[in-house]
Symmetry: C2
Subunit: 433 residues, 2 copies
Amino acid sequence: MQKDKDAVSLSLVDTQTSAVAHVRALAEAARNALPVLAKMSTEQKNAGLMAAAKAIRDQAPAIMAANEKDMEAGRQDGLSSALLDRLALSAERLEGIAGAVEAVAALPDPVGDELARWDRPNGLDIARVRVPIGLIGVIYESRPNVTVDAAALCFKAGNGVILRGGKESFHSGTALHAAFTQGLEEAGLPADVVQLVGTRDRAAVTEMLTAAELFDLVVPRGGKSLVEKVQTESRVPVLAHLEGICHVYIDKAADLEMAADVAFNAKMRRPGICGAMETLLIDQSIVADFKGLFQRLSDAGCELRGDSVVQRHWPDAKTATDQDWATEYLDAILSVRAVDGVDGALEHIARYSSGHTDSIVTNNAGTAEQFLNGVDSAIVMHNASTQFADGGEFGMGAEIGISTGRLHARGPVGVEQLTTYKYQVRGSGQTRP
Amino acid sequence: MQKDKDAVSLSLVDTQTSAVAHVRALAEAARNALPVLAKMSTEQKNAGLMAAAKAIRDQAPAIMAANEKDMEAGRQDGLSSALLDRLALSAERLEGIAGAVEAVAALPDPVGDELARWDRPNGLDIARVRVPIGLIGVIYESRPNVTVDAAALCFKAGNGVILRGGKESFHSGTALHAAFTQGLEEAGLPADVVQLVGTRDRAAVTEMLTAAELFDLVVPRGGKSLVEKVQTESRVPVLAHLEGICHVYIDKAADLEMAADVAFNAKMRRPGICGAMETLLIDQSIVADFKGLFQRLSDAGCELRGDSVVQRHWPDAKTATDQDWATEYLDAILSVRAVDGVDGALEHIARYSSGHTDSIVTNNAGTAEQFLNGVDSAIVMHNASTQFADGGEFGMGAEIGISTGRLHARGPVGVEQLTTYKYQVRGSGQTRP
């Protein structure tokens, strides 16, 4: 018995050791290839991305077969139909994945951009120039497209990337990564900068979060529990989206029809995305004007939870508790609260917003500016649906996610946000007195 | 005996609990005051800083008396003369501290700056606007001026700040903080945004590093061991300067006199600052041309450690080991290595540089650009002394330090780097299709 236990724990240690060594080997290979990538022109990088898109299309049969393996295992493991749907590839989805790589190729290359340049009285010429961040670890769940999206975005910005997907999409991710890197190789680019973790051992993730000498940034993509886990454990800087408790505030100076349309869209276009409205705030004097909106939401299958003022005008609303104001439903549920003007809205948002996206509907320009300046969220809107909180809708092209942190990047994280800067100082022999 | 032990551990827990509660109370008071600060105009903030500078001058007797208490305790504790010198205030130093606050008042206010603005085809108007980071914890050692520098910089950028200085400067820091906040109060500004930790209990620091729900950023200012400790323990994002292993590379196309002047200045102007050169790289074909420089360095009291090529031309040089290339001396010691052209220099720097500041001396423009692009450090220079690595020299005004991390800010961290951004999206009722 004792012997067996020893054997098990020894084998565990061995697996962990090998998972750690595996991640370190991938990271070192990627880091070693970064200087080669740094010498590539924008045209060369784009050619690599186009070749990667082509390879994904060419290898569709192998990728679909790998995905079927994952689906079969998922069904056997009793994954929910929602999870199975996320996992599933189809010809159309695969084309979407390849097309997304081409879209990244079409984006401007931020590397080398001069962010600022000035001269000093002593003649020194100082330039602040965009450069890649370095090596990025991406830890995600079961959507196969993330493997390719993250690879393309990191690559375009000149970074190395170590991809670690959920175990459910292991075979799909492996096949997509193989196609992507084969495309890069065929185009003469250093494919080693894009690596996929080839073990499902959890020790691999721990190593990605703790090897601060190898990783410059970690990006978790997934549900709140994954993100919280990464934020708590990581010794490497994290760029992450935690949650989106988004608000729409309807001011008494709002166009009522516009307000109802914006609110309905903010909730119901896609209730499950992070930019979906979770709480509707209405000036207390005009709650009665939104019975039509409440009806429309109810008809669309949205459950309403309101405070006493809201319930007076819409008795079908359940009673909203304090917990409701702090909840990201990601579902067809909406909490509604009557507030005392824009100041009441600002107070509620300061207390409950997750700092993602909040919007005001009003025709009073002064009130709008008060809200735009007073709300301390990554994205603050006026007369627009919170569902526009998206890199594509911002015109930034693809995004690796939306950051709810405050440092380095807030809001959509696209190619530009996957860079940092350095200073280039040009002199003529200056010494400091 | 057992009872005594219990009593001791109970009192320890009590102290820790109260240190934690103390820090949390300070942080909450500062956070509560931030919305008030956010409403203050640039003129009001500047008036507050000017009043703080005046209060420091007015309270000079009390501040000097507090400093004498620290000096006395330091002498009794046997602090080194270097540490005592850092700790000591004089009329001149106090005037420098007050003047630095006025200099921060004179800097442009970055808050509200529009970093970018564009329209979308659907009519949405998107602006990226600078905003304060939030609440910043500053953990530093015994220099009393840091209390005031950090307070002024954080305040100017609209941030709250919790200051935690070393125990050696406890009384000086307390007196300076009292003067600073009294000035703010007199000018009608929310002095609660600037707080000083009033306990020397180490549990206060731990709380600053772990209360990620209260602190948005931690800035450690001090030696490598303090910074490493903060980087290892912090759950809050860290902006820090770890070390400066800075290089000057003299190319074969260098102006020999300029090269010698730049190298001498980079090392000897102030050998103890982070931007001081620690390793001199010389193209192997021109080492013989720098005997004059070696002589000049030796005459100035600089110890030379060289590789075999260098030793052939300068036999007095000690033998440099691998450890030398990886050492930040912060002293009148220089390691010198002969390298094979700019490629050899790039290779050495990629391996040993701490990513702080590296400089090339050459008259070949192509080689210079290869170096400026190829070296992945926060600051890369051409024909200039590494001692210019400084926020003031960059024209950024005062700095809270130089960041050797890669995210959010690299190089000098001034008022601008103590901000982040948000998006303001202005629409006319747009809903997302």
